[in-house]
Structures are given as structure tokens and as C-alpha cells.
Amino acid sequence: MFQNRAEALALALPAAIFAAAVFLVPVLILLSDGFRNPVVDGVGGGWTLSAFTDFFSSSLNQTVFLRTLRLGAIVTVVSAVIGYAAAFAIVSLDPVAKGRVTGLVVLPLMISPVARTYAWIVILGRTGIVNQAFQALGITQAPLRILFSETAIFIGLLQLFLPLMIISLISALENMPKDAIPAARVLGANWFQVFWKVVLPLTREGLVIGGTLVFTGSLTAYITPAILGGSKVLMLETLMYQQVAVSSNFVAASVIAFILIVMSFAANILLKRVATARNKVRAAA
């Protein structure tokens, strides 16, 4: 460790000042806009919550807000369920196969999200693969409208974020003591009890990390709802874009920005709490 403070500050400050000037200050001003009274003809100013009450009094905005929360929650839960199954299967492979399969799971993360989302148009569209198959099998007569729906957004988000959950759970399962499951089995636990009482508590931290990544990622995704939801099925990010690009309503955009940031931070804190609270219980017991 070097002690020279002036030297250290000279090295670190350019980056910090840059991030503050280009990012932190503009973002904070933008967020504060949602709490200000607009100044009209020199009258107004001061702080108010009216933009927030206005925002939540609109039923469209309520729908979009609840849809964003709902999709975030469903994508997180489903990716956790699939993630556990996939992570179990992967850690039981031999080392070479494990490396290859993990590579295949990570591969989509390197492909542009625009390309990954675009593919679902080919699959879910009116003449897409799913509709072709359904009609050929006689399940439906007319093409189903899957694209531009919440279902399409759900599928797109799940595909986008599932790898993050799987990777988090793989490392959690690998760090679990090897004899925990056989021990529980010998003591007479069934497989449901093994998962609920042994695996889940021991991998809780990995689940929390994966869950936070998937949930905040889903809340703040733009490309998926923009391409697969269209202009009718909005999420908060696409609503924010419309407020700016179509309505020029910057106050509403600031309100949405504030809601998005609060939800991401709240999810982070809440999930961390869940993880540490459980650990304390275990340590005490």
C-alpha cells in the first residue's frame, strides 16, 4: 500500500469526475424533475408529488406498472425452476461435457439481444413455426395471435435471462458440500424434502444473485417489449420511450425513471435481506 494521497487522487479522480459529470449529475437532475412543479410564466416551482399521483391515476399507467411487476416476477420464478433442473443436470456431467454444455448456455449472452429477440418473430408470428405446427396438427384452425402479447414478451425475456440464472445456480450447487444430499437421503428424507430442506437453503445465495439479475433485467428490458410487445402491450421502459418520443411528456418520463430505479434498488435490497436473514437463522441454529 502506498500512502501518497495526492498521487492517488490524481489517478482516481479523472474517472470519478467523468462518471459524475456524464452520468450521475444528469441522472439525478432527471429524477428530481419528477418532483418539481413546472414553472409557467414565472409562476410555479417548488416540490410536489402531483406528477406521481397523476401518473398512478391513469388506468393505462397502472396496467403497465402491474404488467412490468408481474412479468418480472413470473420470469424470475420460471427461470429459477428451469434453472435448478438445468444446473442439476449440468453439475452431474463429467468435467469435459460440463465445460461444453456451460459454454452453450453462455453462448447466447454474446449474441446481440436484438438478434435474439428478432428470432421470436419468425417463431411466434402469424405464419411462424408455432402457428404452422398447430394448424398442421389440427390444434387450431386459424393462426393464433401470439406475437405482440404478454406471452411473447415472457418468452423473449425468459430466453434472454435464463443463462444468468443457470450460471448462478451452477456455482451455488458446486459449492454445496458433496455429502449433503446423500446424508439427507440416508436419514430418510424424500426428494421433495431434500430439495426444500437441504438444497434450497444451501444454494440460497446463488438463487438470490440469479434472481436479482433476472428480475432487474426483466424490469429494465427495452428491446424485448419493444419488438415482441409492439406499441400496444407496453412495459415501463417502452412506456417511458413513448412518453418522450410521442407525447414529449418529460415529467412523466422522469416519474417512470424514478419508479424503475426504486424497483431495481428495492429488489436488490430485499433479495439480499432474504439471503442474509436465512444465513443468520442457520448460524444461530
Binding site: 502506498f2 500512502q3 501518497n4 494521497r5 498521487e7 492517488a8 487522487l9 489517478l11 482516481a12 479523472p14 474517472a15 470519478a16 467523468f18 462518471a19 459524475a20 456524464v22 452520468f23 449529475v25 444528469p26 441522472v27 437532475i29 432527471l30 428451469i82 433442473a85 438445468a86 442439476f88 443436470a89 449440468i90 453439475v91 452431474s92 454444455v101 452453450l104 448456455v105 453462448l107 454474446m110 449474441i111 446481440s112 439481444p113 436484438v114 438478434a115 428478432y118 428470432a119 421470436w120 419468425v122 435464463l162 426428494w191 427495452y222 428491446i223 419493444a226 419488438i227 421502459e237 417511458m240 420511450y241 418520443a245 418529460f250 425513471a257 424503475l260 430505479i261 431495481s264 434498488f265
Partner: protein, 264 residues
């Protein structure tokens, strides 16, 4: 780990097949669709041709926005490293007052949704200071890559024993000389990894650039979204496939030659 050997024999391959089909399948479909001879995007592709792959290179706006994205990814990442390497060095080697504050400020752009960063820049940097869109995009992408640069370079600095450079200083080298002759060669792999991670992040970034586009100034992903809303031909599929192979190629090369995953 599974209930019995029969369950295990079925469960593992079936799960892996379904999950990987779900994750990789759509990409394979895009690749197949881009070789179609038909006029609209469809799967299975109608016939085989290279016309859509050829068309990608003739679309004027794709060429311009590809150039823009390439400039942002290379320039923005380089700028982030120029700011990030000294900051990481100070954070890992010095007793720095307010180190946690500096670390938080520098890593903050990763936490805040990109669309908010883009709008904030438009409203409070571009408009009041008359900054051009290209410069604003450059600043935004630099800020976006900075957290990755600091994280990856810090990790490789933490892996390097600090007594080597202290020895160099004791033996008469200046602090700066020790940095360039001892530290820098040893964290080369980390810096290159940070560069590749930053490049891919910047190149694929959409929300930050959403509000920062003007006439003729657009990043490639934004241009692709705009194009696919108007034209439903397989050229976006062809472009997506080409870009995907490009980034997969870069990451694979990096993994092979640098052991990329050690740093990320």
C-alpha cells in the same frame, strides 16, 4: 443426485436438450432464415441463396451505422480504459480517502437502466451545452463501459502481488517507471479482456443510444430495429447472424489466447 438411475438417465439428457434448444434454437433459425431465397422472413427458408447476406453490405444506412457502432465500441472502450486503469491502480494500491465513494460513482452506470442514462444525457448535456449527437454517444458509451473496465482491471491488479513493484521502486525505478515496466506487462491479459468485454457491451447496447440518434447518426442495433419495423425481408436476419458469428469469434479467440473467463 437423482432419484434412481432410470430417472437420472432420462432426466439429464432431456433437460439439457430442452434448455439448450430453447436458448440456441432461435439463433439457429435466424441463421437458416438468412440463407433463404424468398422475399420475406420465414422458416423453413424458401430455397437457398446468399442474396440477403449480400444485400446487408449494400444497404447504405447499415454501412453508416456499423461504422458508428464500431467507432463507439473501439473509441468508447479505449477512453474507458484510459480513465479506468489509473483509477483501478489507485483503488488497489493506495490508501485512498473516500475509496468506496469513488468506486460506487465509477460503477454506478451499470446499475441504472440505460434508457434513463440516455434521456438524462439528451436533456442535460446535449441540449444545454450544444454537444453533438456523435460526441454525446461517445460520452455515453464511455460511461457505460467504465464500470466493466474498472472491475476487470481491478481484478487482475488484485491478482498481481504488489511487492514486485515495491521491489522495483526500492531498486531505483521511479513509481511511473515501475508501473509501465512491471505492472502494465503483467496485467496485459486483464486489459485486453476488459477491452473485449467493453467492445461487445458497447456494440450490442440499445437503450442508452435510443434517444441519442439524429439524422444520419445512429448505432447499428437501433438501425436494425428501425429497419425491421418497415421492411420484413431476411436482411436483418442475415445481419444478425453475421454479427453473432463476429462476436462469438472474438470471444472464442479471446478465451483461447487469453483465458478470458479468468478475468470476467
Amino acid at each position: 443426485m437423482m432419484p434412481n438411475s432410470l430417472g437420472r438417465n432420462l432426466f439429464i439428457p432431456l433437460t439439457l436438450f430442452l434448455v439448450i434448444a430453447f436458448l440456441i434454437g432461435p439463433f439457429l433459425i435466424i441463421v437458416a432464415a438468412s440463407f433463404s431465397a424468398g422475399d420475406t422472413l420465414a422458416f423453413p427458408p424458401q430455397g437457398f441463396s446468399l442474396r440477403w447476406i449480400a444485400k446487408v453490405f449494400t444497404v447504405e444506412s447499415f454501412r453508416a451505422s456499423f461504422g458508428m457502432s464500431l467507432f463507439l465500441a473501439i473509441g468508447g472502450t479505449a477512453a474507458a480504459l484510459v480513465l479506468g486503469i489509473p483509477a483501478s491502480y489507485a483503488l488497489s494500491r493506495y490508501k485512498l480517502p473516500g475509496a468506496e465513494v469513488i468506486r460506487t460513482v465509477v460503477s454506478a452506470p451499470i446499475i441504472v437502466p440505460g434508457i434513463i442514462v440516455g434521456l438524462a444525457l439528451l436533456r442535460y448535456i446535449v441540449v444545454p451545452f450544444g454537444v453533438g449527437i456523435s460526441l454525446a454517444l461517445f460520452l455515453a458509451h464511455t460511461a457505460l463501459v467504465l464500470p466493466y473496465a474498472v472491475r476487470v482491471v481491478s481484478a487482475s491488479l488484485d491478482n498481481l502481488r504488489s511487492d514486485i513493484e515495491e521491489a522495483a521502486v526500492l531498486l531505483g525505478s521511479s513509481r511511473t517507471g515501475a508501473f509501465f515496466r512491471v505492472v502494465l506487462p503483467n496485467i496485459r491479459g486483464g486489459i485486453l479482456s476488459a477491452f473485449i468485454l467493453g467492445f461487445v457491451t458497447s456494440f450490442n447496447q440499445v437503450p442508452v443510444s435510443l434517444f441519442l440518434s439524429g439524422p444520419g447518426v445512429r448505432t447499428l442495433p437501433i438501425d436494425m430495429i428501425a429497419y425491421m419495423e418497415i421492411v420484413f425481408d431476411p436482411s436483418v436476419a442475415a445481419l444478425s447472424a453475421l454479427l453473432a458469428f463476429l462476436s462469438i469469434g472474438i470471444v472464442f479467440a479471446a478465451e483461447r489466447f487469453l483465458g478470458f473467463s479468468r478475468y470476467v
